[in-house]
Assembly symmetry: C2
Homo-oligomer: 297 residues x 2
């Protein structure tokens, strides 16, 4: 076991990667010729002190499979986070979840108006692909395809469409799994796969990393559901019970607390097993899954 895998909290394990992700976002977020007001809105939406889970996963996986800092992994980290941030901005819009606050600050449309929020979201999504494409080379094209597939109409957008009841979704846990697989797990899976691809991982490793990301993404969302019910407002940074009150499907509603907790543990175990299949390279990914399964905020 290497030193880093002894981290005792998720925040501790992620901290160095999250710091690097913030630095990279500062560097690549704004295209110089952008209008100042648009750049300001984009910065507000993307530099907001989030956990940076997704870019950290790209960097951490890139590090696990590569020997040194890798510009393509750095660009992939920025691209994945820009896609995540755009999705939050659009999901918060009045016509969508109509959220007024995110991480204690006014949401983008409250702060800048709906038109600018829609456009800043569009700009973040488009910028993600510019940052990746400008790396150039065959690998960059593969990363673009990976990210666009995960974020697109058979991935993250499909999950949001299902979550908003805009398409037919199976009832019960099956429908919930469909939503979480697409809305949350697809991008988390893409994050770890992109880190591994940027570092030149081979097909069997990419497959294991993909299994890891999918299980981690599902566990992450399930733990969110659990915290929505069991966490305090201080711990989770929003009103407890908000998802239930908003009529959102949750695992806790369908399975009850105990079975939902057991399923979270099972998914964490799945992620850990996939990390183990990577051998020593998977040490930090394994520890991350364990800590994510135990998180209280």
């Amino acid at each position: 076991m290497t030193q880093e895998t002894q981290c005792n909290s998720l925040a501790e394990l992620l901290a160095p990667y999250a710091r690097e992700a913030n630095r990279l976002l500062e560097q690549w977020l704004v295209e110089p010729a952008s209008p100042a007001a648009l750049a300001e809105a984009m910065r507000y939406c993307a530099l907001d002190g989030g956990k940076r889970l997704r870019p950290s996963l790209v960097l951490l996986t890139g590090e696990a499979f590569g020997d040194k800092a890798n510009e393509l992994a750095a660009r992939a980290a920025v691209a994945v986070e820009l896609v995540h941030c755009y999705s939050l901005v659009h999901d918060d819009l009045p016509a969508m979840d109509d959220d007024k606050l995110r991480r204690g600050r006014p949401t983008a449309h409250v702060k800048f108006g709906q038109a600018m929020a829609i456009l800043a979201g569009d700009a973040l999504l488009t910028r993600a692909f510019a940052v990746l494409g400008e790396a150039g080379g065959e690998q960059a094209a593969a990363l673009v395809a990976e990210l666009a597939h995960a974020a697109g109409p058979a991935g993250m957008v499909a999950g949001q469409v299902a979550d908003m009841d805009l398409c037919e979704v199976p009832g019960g846990v099956e429908g919930l799994r469909y939503i979480h697989l697409n809305k949350t797990a697809a991008l988390i899976r893409a994050a770890v796969r992109m880190g591994a691809m940027a570092a030149g991982a081979d097909k069997p490793a990419l497959d294991a990393v993909g299994r890891y990301g999918r299980a981690l993404g599902l566990a992450f969302q399930l733990v969110d559901d659990l915290l929505d019910v069991t966490g305090s407002a201080e711990q989770i940074g929003k009103t407890p019970g908000k998802d239930l009150a908003a009529g959102k499907r949750t695992y806790v509603e369908h399975l009850g607390l105990d079975r939902a907790r057991a399923l979270a543990d099972e998914l964490t175990g799945e992620a850990a097993a996939a990390a183990d299949a990577l051998g020593p390279r998977g040490g930090k990914l394994r520890r991350l899954a364990e800590l994510l399964g135990q998180r209280s905020h």
Copy 2:
């Protein structure tokens, strides 16, 4: 002069390319695993009988520089049109231009609701990059960068931000030129450049093609302004005077009809000169610029 350059109307010149663009869009628009309701909304937004100017420009330029059908140019044509279609869907939203009709049909948010319109737009934009990225290879990455730059925060989105008065814009014709360069010409320039890049054109040719696309894009928008004032409803497919009534800046308002007409001719001449610099390869592009300058709808 080849046979094709003798076309007497823009529609006649574009027809074979527009047909091919429609076929390619049918083939690549929908990712099989997309929810049916989302796929239906995407099809409504993208398969609506538009002129297909942008994908036709990709295909026509690809043909001018290449010897045979080229999958990368075909994918680029689809990608450019998906980006154009997403921008129309988001521009029509109530928080933006609040348009209820487009080409005689209800706009996407009137037909499917705002949430689905926002998400279908997001899906079209993301899908554009999947279609390009999945081509694989170094050239695909370069095309992704080209498209994302033209469509992003220093391109098309900047133009829309300026057009909506969401950022500072210089007054008069200078501001108008900024808006049209970004909102319209950037994507048209990218279309011809992508066609040429996909066919392996060299740097001097790409530069000339870029000059052509920029001048053509500006002329296209200017002729739109002129038709808004001088055209009949039947000719232009919308209420004449709509742009003026909506308080949109137009060239006609700033320059008067005669000087606006003269500027359109000047830009058409600029495009024609750039096409001439390409030698015989530029024949069809030159004819297209002439016909676009003369169009009455």
